[in-house]
Symmetry: none
Subunit: 148 residues, 4 copies
């Protein structure tokens, strides 16, 4: 059994992120994944980098695979630190810079969002717009977590 | 610079395909790609097979990589025929059964659609709903091919 | 030590193949590799299939890796025959349909040519134009095999 | 349909780069790719490193995937900086040292060039000879961007 987000909710999060990306005028690739890191929906905004297709998907994967935001992994992965080399593990899917976030409901991670397309600070800002939308939907009781 | 389908158009094609998938009551994964086979948008409908995430993407890729629908490849790839072994070429991305289609405008392939999630006949029916929507948009002059 | 073909000779073979591809009006991707299957030169003719970039390279690789033309592998790779499954070996680089040929001098394989872009019969015709050019250069004493 | 550089133009850029490589007496591998990072032509000069076949191709890919020269990526990818770990992303195709450059026409990226085979400063010098040739052809109105 996997906790997952309905596609209709995933596209709402993506729309919220796209709106933020338009505001900061930087096209992004946005991925929403389930709690096992598998894709629910991915959109490449017009003009977004090709490399971001892979990176946004893997930010979502990494957040699911390690149950944490990807920006928490950067320092630990540096030379001399405990997880040095993490970025090359798991078939190259680990992303250790910011832009991947878990999506939680009732204290459980039920999905993740990953954004790529600009400076890391921009990626985070856009991803957080998606996370904010998610949290608002949870608060409003509008989220119907799937148990596949 | 790539001729491509705008994201807003890609999601319209996906919606048309999702509607058909709902009609036949079989959740699908639907991918729209550009003319070089790279992803523009992908949606996994609730309950669709996990394997279909990969397969729908690669049907879209294959249609772009060989400029033809994927169902045209099946017979040639059979043992004894000229392209036996094609199904395992190109890093395992070639899909030789139906569900991937080129999207054309003015006689040029500007993108592709790939659908997976059911019997091949169902995949084709759903993908063709996306192709029909595309052709209707082209006829209506509502298609604005991107030059990235 | 690797027996290899000079780049200047490799581009002559590619030109001969391109001329044949133009004659039959089918754009091709043409690769010349050394006796270890590593690339010397590759050209994607205007309009040639994307998938052919990978396939032509791997036809050249396969010919070098097994010291024979790729069309000799089809029958043996069929279900029930001795090499069934060969097409998926060696990291997916084995191509078991025609279009890859060894290039020989003094009874030694010193390189290979791989062509992809049309029907297998067309691929073979174009590759053979490259092989013919090679044999003519060898006969003329115009080939200076490299020993890297 | 992709905006791309004709093969005949790509080989002119490669010749210009090869001439520079001969001048500095360092054999190189030179790749020209389209705007989605897919290969148009690749030449391995006699005596050039085997590893450079992969690296030159991926420098061209990286420039296309992130719309910038590869030398712009080095600093951001260092430990402690925002894109630490970028070098291992995207199936290992990201190259974060110099030698990959976009090729532009009318403000659009229509292709890229990637060079590998020596010190990074040499790779850049040789790649820039290809870029200079491109810019001269654009200025002369001798560039005919393809619409595949």
């Amino acid at each position: 059994m996997v906790e997952s987000i309905p596609l209709a909710t995933a596209t709402q999060l993506i729309e919220a992120a796209e709106q933020k990306a338009d505001e900061i005028d930087n096209p992004m690739v946005i991925t929403v994944a389930n709690s096992e890191g598998n894709l629910i929906a991915q959109h490449r905004m017009d003009g977004a980098w090709l490399a971001s297709v892979n990176i946004s998907k893997n930010k979502a994967y990494t957040s699911a695979a390690l149950d944490m935001p990807t920006h928490d992994l950067a320092e630990a992965s540096e030379p001399g630190n405990s997880l040095y080399g993490l970025d090359t593990r798991d078939e190259g899917r680990m992303v250790v810079f910011g832009g991947g976030y878990p999506l939680e409901a009732d204290g459980e991670i039920v999905g993740t969002i990953g954004v790529s397309g600009g400076e890391v600070s921009q990626d985070r800002e856009v991803a957080e717009a998606g996370v904010d939308k998610w949290n608002q939907l949870v608060e409003d009781g509008a989220v119907d977590v799937r148990h596949d």
